[in-house]
């Protein structure tokens, strides 16, 4: 470990891979100059006053490239899609309905998410204590909750395939595949269409009993659809006739829920909290989980390695950001790059923390810095 | 019942692969109810000889017979008291004495009754529920003796049982052992380094030579019991055996 000196006259930035949890601490103890993270860690910085946002992910360069950029999606194993399409369609429908709910009730969604993720607890960041509900109220509006696999969204995924190839993270079946093959490998929008149709009809077809299934997700408000669907299950039951009823009441995360369609229990759903998208993909490969809420890049790399899953439709887009400390001389991307160049010239290149290699945030940060002619060094 | 040892020899192969001839060619006969002591230089094979008689080791050559039957393994007819303390520290005194009977499947009541009898014989009644660590060295060896007697063996093998005791306790134990032996009358083979002890206790003393050892001489002790250590006859036998030993050990190391 240790920093390498900046090379030549080029501007460099050191990227430090880290779990997101310690990032606010690292920032406020001057161990890093900024971090690129998913929500609600961007909101954590602004609400607690530790840092400020340089750029939300959709605004990062190259200009226009990241508008509506892909983020998390609903994915399922191909075998269950073939054998139990009724179940897959029903779950898709619930997800779509939940996304509508969030769009209509962002504050309620923030509260339910804060309940799931933090038990609505206060959080302490150094000298500042903030309420998690407030953090999420700041965070939820910066996300775009949509279930629509639009052309732009597909294009954004294709952009990621290109970036991941360039970074050397794609080595398998997608390495040399043409765009059409890539898309047919990655996506299956059938369940989305069916779900839309059922919602439009106002009735969900009751699937046959499926025993116990498992759905993986990550502790981020990107997956608020799951949180609202479970925490306000009564609403979904009453409105759509489909619900995930938690096995036990109380605050905090729920690990088991009953899938109820038209008043009938269809399946026991284990809700598996993972640590990262790639970990969820491993679980899917082992058939430990059959469904996942997961970032599309981990799904892409997993499909590339032969994991039998398909991406069904998005959960949300955008939702990450680059944060620097509150007193940093950077307020937007331009001034950030100027700062980075100045610090590189002083021989003290900026240290920016990022989630693991190949994550959306990693790919975006590298691409944006590259576009601004800044070389990325990996701290070892 | 007689005990015959016929041309017994025993060699060991050490971990280094060297051969150690412990016993060369040992032959003797012990008469019924006889008390015999074995003396000899350290490392000459006394313990080995006892172990072979007890059936714990097999001889390289020759055989041992008890009552005309060859000894091929441990048998309830023989009890051995080891050189080191061998009481089970997790058992009370009474349970230690009852061990042999327990192993033989004797009922609880019966074995405790027998154990109490021998506990009384060695004069430790009040220590029935004590653990070994609460006893002095001398008391422990008395418990070991009681345990051995409790199974009512034909032969009692004792490997330097009083070696670790101080002079006084040792003398007292010798007197006690003789009293017990007189009451129960079995063959006793008693290994010791102390010529004094050997002369005080035994009917005959077997003097072993250095390795590979055999019987150098068998000394009769014709004195009536109880014997007086300070008598001239006692000193005579003692002097004779000491001289024998002194000539036996070429080296003192």
């Amino acid at each position: 470990t240790g920093e390498q000196p900046s090379t030549g006259g080029e501007a460099t930035v050191d990227v430090i891979y880290s779990a997101t949890g310690p990032m606010p601490m690292l920032l406020s103890t001057d161990q890093i100059d900024g971090y690129m993270a998913w929500q609600p860690f961007v909101a954590v910085a602004t609400v607690s006053g530790i840092g400020k946002v340089v750029s939300y992910s959709q605004d990062m360069p190259p200009a226009g490239m990241w508008t509506d950029h892909t983020c998390c999606a609903f994915a399922a194993r191909t075998d269950i899609m073939q054998e139990r399409s009724d179940l897959v369609n029903a779950l898709s429908a619930l997800t779509i309905a939940a996304n509508d709910y969030i769009k209509q009730n962002p504050d309620k969604a923030a509260e339910l998410s804060a309940d799931w993720l933090y038990g609505k607890d206060d959080m302490t960041f150094g000298n500042v204590t903030v309420n998690s509900v407030n953090v999420l109220k700041a965070s939820i509006p910066t996300l775009k909750f949509t279930s629509d696999p639009s052309e732009a969204w597909i294009q954004s995924n294709d952009n990621f395939v290109v970036s991941l190839r360039e970074l050397g993270y794609i080595t398998g079946s997608l390495k040399d595949a043409d765009p059409a093959t890539v898309n047919s490998e990655l996506f299956d929008f059938g369940p989305y269409e069916q779900a839309k149709a059922m919602l439009a009809n106002g009735s969900i077809t009751t699937p046959a009993n499926a025993g116990t299934i498992a759905l993986g997700y990550l502790p981020s408000d990107h997956h608020a659809a799951l949180f609202v669907a479970v925490k306000d299950w009564q609403y979904f039951n009453d409105t759509y006739g489909i619900a995930l009823k938690p096995a036990s009441e109380g605050s905090g995360a729920v690990d088991t829920a009953d899938l109820i369609v038209n008043g009938e229990k269809v399946a026991t759903v284990k809700l598996v909290k993972g640590e990262g998208g790639s970990q969820l993909m491993t679980l899917a490969a082992q058939d430990t989980i059959q469904f996942a809420f997961v970032g599309t890049p981990p799904a892409i790399t997993a499909i590339d390695k032969g994991t039998p899953i398909k991406i069904l439709h998005p959960l949300q887009t955008e939702g990450s950001g680059l944060v620097v400390s509150a007193d940093a001389p950077a307020n937007d991307w331009q001034s950030f790059i100027a700062w980075a160049k100045q610090r590189a010239a002083e021989g003290k290149p900026l240290k920016i923390a990022s989630p693991p290699k190949g994550s959306i945030q990693d790919v975006q940060l590298r691409a944006a810095l590259g576009d601004s002619n800044v070389v990325v060094n990996e701290a070892q | 019942m007689e005990l015959n040892v016929e041309h017994i020899s025993k060699s060991f192969v050490t971990s280094k692969g060297e051969r150690v001839d412990a016993l060369g060619d040992v032959t003797f006969t012990i008469r019924d109810k006889e008390f015999v002591c074995i003396v000899g230089p350290s490392g000459c094979g006394k313990t080995t000889l006892l172990r072979i008689i007890a059936g714990l080791d097999t001889p390289t050559g020759g055989k041992a017979e008890l009552g005309g039957k060859e000894i091929v393994g441990p048998s309830p007819k023989m009890a051995m008291i080891f050189q080191e303390y061998s009481l089970y520290p997790w058992r009370t005194v009474l349970d230690n004495i009852a061990f042999g009977l327990e192993v033989q499947g004797v009922e609880k009541e019966a074995r405790y009754a027998a154990a109490r009898k021998y506990l009384h014989l060695v004069g430790l009644d009040e220590f029935e529920t004590s653990y070994p660590y609460e006893l002095s060295g001398g008391m422990r060896q008395r418990v070991a003796v009681a345990r051995a007697l409790a199974v009512e063996p034909e032969v009692l093998l004792m490997d330097e049982p009083f070696g670790a005791l101080d002079a006084q306790t040792r003398n007292a134990m010798q007197t006690e052992l003789l009293e017990i032996w007189e009451k129960t009358r079995k063959i006793v083979i008693f290994v010791t380094h102390s010529v004094d002890e050997a002369v005080f206790l035994s009917d005959r003393i077997f003097v072993l030579s250095t390795r590979p050892s055999n019987i150098r001489e068998i000394v009769d002790v014709p004195l009536p019991r109880p014997r007086d250590r300070t008598s001239v006859e006692f000193a005579q036998v003692r002097r004779y055996v000491l001289a024998l030993i002194q000539n036996t050990g070429e080296s003192s190391q």
């Binding site: 933090y118 598996v272 | 714990l56 089970y88």
Partner: protein, 253 residues
Amino acid sequence: MRKYLKIVLPIILIFGWETVAILLNNPFILPRIEAVVAVLLEPTKNILGSGSLLEGAGLSLYRVLLGFLTAAAVAIPLGILMGRYPTVQDLADSVIQLLRPIPPLAWLPVALAWFKIGLTSIVFIIFIGAFFPILLNTVAGVKGVNRTWLETATVYGASERQIMTKVVLPAAAPTIWTGLRVSLGIAWQCVVAAEMLPGTTSGLGYMIMAAYNLGQMQVIIAGMIVIGFISLVLDALFREVEVRMFVWQGRYQ
């Protein structure tokens, strides 16, 4: 006097902590004691949606004991066999030596693949940590059984089963018990790793890692203190039982 000494350092440390915390004035690096105490003083309050400290402690204790008891149930019989029969030892040794140094954390993926999400995986990780100390101590304990005790039993004609239950087990018990004590401590050390398994949303280890992922120092430190404290109490219990069960060792007065 000695009692006072024992609390001197903790008191100094607490004062030092608080002083440094005030001087540093950076709760990220060192939170004030009050912040930690505040967490500890509300053991029934739900923390960050991962249950209360009390629930977490209870659940982790349950998991640790399950893993620990399973490990004991496998390691003690296997250890006895390995200690008593060189063949079994030879058979198992190479695999055990290779598996022993592998960190419990490295077993996470394997646990998940084999035992799926759920209690079994968690228990498996704790099992892995607790298994080897118990096994090694049992083997050492059984191998260390005084040869004389074994031969005494043989002389009295004990069967292999009697030797096992009446000699080997009681004699090795103190060493096995030490192994259990050490291993329970290690089982606690594994609970954080075990509760990192996906699908877990409760337990002290989970709470610590969740707090880590949310940057909540005061919860982490409170969790560490609770783990330290529970281990201390369990260790004291084990010692207490030791003193009662093994009086016969004569070590405790």
